[in-house]
């Protein structure tokens, strides 16, 4: 593999300097006063919570967005990128979190797209791709359709794209979010190799362990700006986490158990198979009692979303029984389940929880089309819906000019409070809460935790799914770990540590990653 000669690591050169960069969107300040210095030939990690402004900054670096203020200096030269083409010309390449690949095109076509001038689109390009692929052990066939590739392979296509363009600086946006641990190790191997050859890597993440393992320098972002820098080895995870979320790190405070003996939700042998015959869920057994919060821990994409959607009746299970309050609801549709008192706080509130271009009071009706106070089953009760929306706005502290405002205009936290308020109305018996505090500000997070705890005291059963282990441990009465569609272990939140959970979630350290045949449990 050819090392790039120009970017040989001299400590004195900085690959990128970001000086006082700011970016505003209508109603939001995405970035302000961002300062970062990235040394050449290093792996530089940029960390921060969701919504801290990392993505916007990254788009600015790659020329997708133009900054409103501040300057960018790349390789000692002040630059202003009008489009990604300019960034590419300055040797910057980007691997997006959501892969930027056209499924219906081949690996070759995806790689050469936009860079046809280098080696054309024919055999010369093919040779070059095979060359890079072999050099890094990427194992990619240039003529295969991308849609036939797995996640790890797609990511390698993305990296190949960047290398093909001769990028010296590679930006990776949350590259590990979609990978299993073994793939993460392989990726880190690749990154170290790239670094050794003089590439500079900007690694964006919110996973502190990974950052500490791979980075040379760390920059922390919070609320749209850079709030600190650190070096691994001189900083603890806790310190980093506190930098990320502010001076105090809120965790839900434990209150006395309210768990009763009465079973509210009972799931037996729930299995869900996809169109290809693969099990997304296999043989899930679980129970939740009245007044109990059951937390589900797992790396994203291990069946959590499918579990919730199956219980909601949005997916049809292949096998298994679901009982709520002793009644078999397996054959009920989503509306009947909602009428039976199942509330749903969806993972993706924009897709599943709101009508973005409808006013708040109409959003109050969503999910209650057949129920008081929004409807009498046939007619919509406008005044009832409006009154109750007003109640939610007040009780749940939804910051809005009024209930006639479109929900799109609200901030993420306020949208979420509206949803929580709605789903907690009408005396629910069971609430499925998927990542209830994702992407919301700290204030709203605390408020939502409070509401969940209060509802639990009143005898509600809660199925809580979260990627935030502290949240899970703080809120849950019991934690189940899900791995590849199976429940693989139960933990007591009183005694468990995030490390124990993390280990269970990944199925232990030395297990092969192949999911198809895997039977063993942690």
């Amino acid at each position: 593999m050819n090392a790039s000669p120009t970017a040989s690591p001299t400590a004195a050169t900085d690959a990128i300097q970001v000086r006082g960069v700011g970016k505003r969107f209508p109603g939001v300040i995405a970035n302000h006063d961002v300062d970062i210095t990235i040394r050449s030939g290093t792996v530089h990690a940029l960390i921060g919570e969701n919504g801290a402004g990392k993505s916007t900054l990254m788009k600015i670096l790659y020329g997708v967005q133009k900054p409103d203020d501040g300057t960018l200096v790349v390789g000692g030269e002040e630059v202003s990128f009008g489009s990604p083409t300019d960034a590419i010309a300055h040797g910057i390449g980007m691997v997006f979190q959501h892969f930027m690949l056209a499924d219906n095109l081949t690996v070759l076509e995806n790689v050469v797209l936009g860079a046809e001038k280098i080696h054309g689109i024919g055999d010369a390009a093919r040779r070059r791709i095979v060359e890079i692929s072999t050099a890094y052990g990427f194992d990619l066939d240039p003529d295969e359709l991308v849609e036939d590739l797995g996640v790890g392979e797609r990511q390698r296509v993305e990296i190949l794209k960047v290398l093909y363009r001769g990028a010296k600086i590679i930006i990776l946006d949350e590259p590990t979010a979609v990978l299993v641990p073994q793939e993460v190790d392989a990726l880190f191997g690749n990154l170290r190799e790239l670094k050794a050859e003089g590439h500079t890597i900007l690694f964006i993440s919110h996973k502190l362990d990974e950052v500490l393992a791979i980075a040379d320098d760390i920059t922390v972002m919070r609320r749209g700006t850079t709030v600190g820098e650190a070096h691994p080895g001189e900083v603890t995870k806790r310190e980093l986490a506190e930098l990320m979320v502010g001076s105090e790190l809120p965790t839900p405070e434990k209150t006395a158990s309210t768990v009763t003996d009465e079973v509210q939700l009972e799931i037996e042998g729930l299995t869900l198979t996809d169109a290809f015959g693969r099990d997304l869920l296999s043989g899930i057994d679980l129970t939740i009692h009245k007044g109990e919060v059951l937390g589900i821990a797992g790396v994203e994409g291990n069946g959590q979303a499918e579990l919730v959607e199956t219980v909601m009746g949005m997916r049809k299970p292949t096998a298994g029984v679901i009982r709520v309050g002793g009644e078999d609801i397996s054959d009920w549709d989503t509306r009947e389940r909602r009428e039976a008192g199942i509330g749903y706080i969806p993972e993706d509130r924009h897709r599943h929880g709101l009508l973005l271009d409808a006013p708040l009071w109409e959003n109050r009706i969503l999910g209650f089309q057949s129920r008081e106070p929004a409807s009498n089953g046939f007619l919509i009760n406008r005044s009832g819906a409006r009154e109750d929306t007003q109640r939610i706005v007040e009780e749940y502290d939804v910051r809005t000019p009024g209930i006639d405002t479109n929900s799109r205009a609200l901030s993420g936290g306020n949208q979420q409070k509206l949803i929580v308020g709605r789903e907690m109305s009408g005396n629910p018996v069971l609430v499925l809460a998927a990542h209830p505090t994702r992407g919301v500000d700290v204030g709203a997070q605390a408020a939502i935790w409070g509401h969940i705890k209060k509802a639990r005291e009143e005898g509600l059963a809660v199925l809580l799914i979260s990627a935030d282990l502290d949240e899970l441990i703080g809120l849950s009465d019991r934690i189940e770990v899900i791995l590849r569609g199976r429940l693989v272990g139960e933990f007591d939140p009183q005694t468990v540590t995030p490390q124990d959970l993390g280990s269970a979630m990944t199925g232990g350290a030395d297990e092969p990653a192949d999911d198809q045949t895997q039977e063993d449990r942690a």
């Binding site: 949005m314 389940r337 599943h352 999910g367 502290d397 205009a409």
Partner: protein, 366 residues
């Protein structure tokens, strides 16, 4: 405040569109060497009595057609097939009423029911194909339009009665003909009785969409299918039902003219109403009130332009350009206004909240 802004926004777009269409029409007329002044003089002259009657009649049919399209559009279902649906339905009704199975007014009711059922069934094919086989309703309704034309043509050729140069169905009995209401002199014609269908359908549509939970389901599905599913809407069922409702209303489109004047399906059948309806639905933003104005505007332009050939050297077809440009301009204007409003509303929310709460948003902690 936001309500006022919304109303203004809703008015700005069509106004801009009409002005743009007027400007482009004038330019086109000028380019072809005629005088735009002549054109506007003829078009904007107060309509004659006879024209007024025609405008009312045409408005009612265009309105029904637009309503049929709008029902689908409100749930993001592009029923391009109104044209075919009302052809099939009109033919079916004409044959049934012509056969006079039942007497008098009962026959009228039967005809309307048959028209609605036939329209619904024809539209239902597209709904069924979408739900069971995932076929895009845009493509299937386009295909069904063409099939409808040939099918009705075949049936008319095979079973029709020859009258002069053309074929037609059996004329309906006199007891089933509805003369209508004559506001001026007899020679100025009458407003067809069944124009009232437009009023009934418009009110029914409005009530259904805005007041019933079914209507909410329908609108929710249009606004966000995923959110609707999560709220318990059975989208497949909704697709079939709304497609069939759209077809049923489409079935009524030509009924005022059929019972009021034509009395038979033949050379007097008015084609193209289905496509006009789609345009008017877009113009009126799929809201009954907007559609009323849109239908009136289109009917007005059509009828007023009839005199162009007589009084000027300008082709009356120029109003088709006007109409097309209005539709295109109005959808562009709506899109621009929508984006502006979104941004403005977000800003407004932020400003208001900043004013209400000067401190950092950490104020609420556990």
């Amino acid at each position: 405040m936001t309500a006022v802004r919304r109303v203004l926004g809703a008015l700005v777009a069509p106004l801009v569109a009409v002005v743009a269409a007027m400007a482009i029409t004038s330019i086109v007329i000028m380019a072809s060497g005629s005088s735009p002044g002549d054109f506007w003089e003829v078009i904007l002259e107060p309509p004659a009595d006879r024209t007024m009657v025609n405008i009312v009649n045409q408005t009612s049919m265009i309105f029904l057609s637009a309503l049929a399209a709008a029902i689908g559009f409100r749930m993001n279902l592009f029923n391009i097939g109104v044209e075919g649906q009302y052809q099939v339905a009109s033919y079916a009704a004409a044959v049934t009423v012509g056969a006079a199975f039942v007497p008098g007014l009962l026959n009228v009711v039967l005809g309307l029911v048959v028209a609605m059922v036939a329209g619904a069934a024809w539209a239902g094919i597209a709904g069924l194909l979408k739900v069971t086989r995932g076929v895009s309703e845009v493509i299937s309704t386009i295909m069904l339009n063409a099939i409808a034309v040939t099918l009705v043509g075949y049936l008319l050729n095979t079973y029709g009665i020859r009258a002069g140069n053309s074929l037609r169905t059996t004329e309906i009995p006199e007891s089933s003909q509805l003369a209508g209401f004559t506001p001026f002199l007899d020679r100025d014609g009458s407003i067809w009785t069944l124009s009232i269908l437009a009023v009934v359908a418009g009110i029914g549509f409005s009530f259904l969409l805005n007041r019933t939970s079914f209507g909410f389901d329908l609108r929710a599905t249009g606004a966000s299918e995923t959110a609707a599913v999560a709220s318990g809407v059975k989208v497949n069922r909704m697709v079939i039902i709304s497609m069939m409702m759209s077809g049923a209303i489409a079935g009524l489109i030509w009924m005022p003219a059929f019972f009021g004047a034509a009395h038979t399906y033949g050379s007097t059948f008015q084609f193209q109403l289905g496509f006009t309806g789609i345009a008017v639905a877009l113009l009126g933003r799929n809201r009954p009130l907007g559609i009323v104005f849109g239908a009136l505007l289109f009917a007005f332009l059509n009828e007023q332009s009839n005199r162009l050939t007589l009084l000027t050297d300008i082709s009356q077809n120029v109003v088709q350009i006007t109409q097309g440009v209005i539709v295109l301009a109005v959808v562009v204007a709506y899109e621009v206004v929508r984006r502006r409003q979104q941004a403005a509303e977000q800003n407004a929310v932020k400003r208001q909240l900043d004013a209400a709460k000067p401190s950092d948003d950490k104020a609420v902690t556990a």
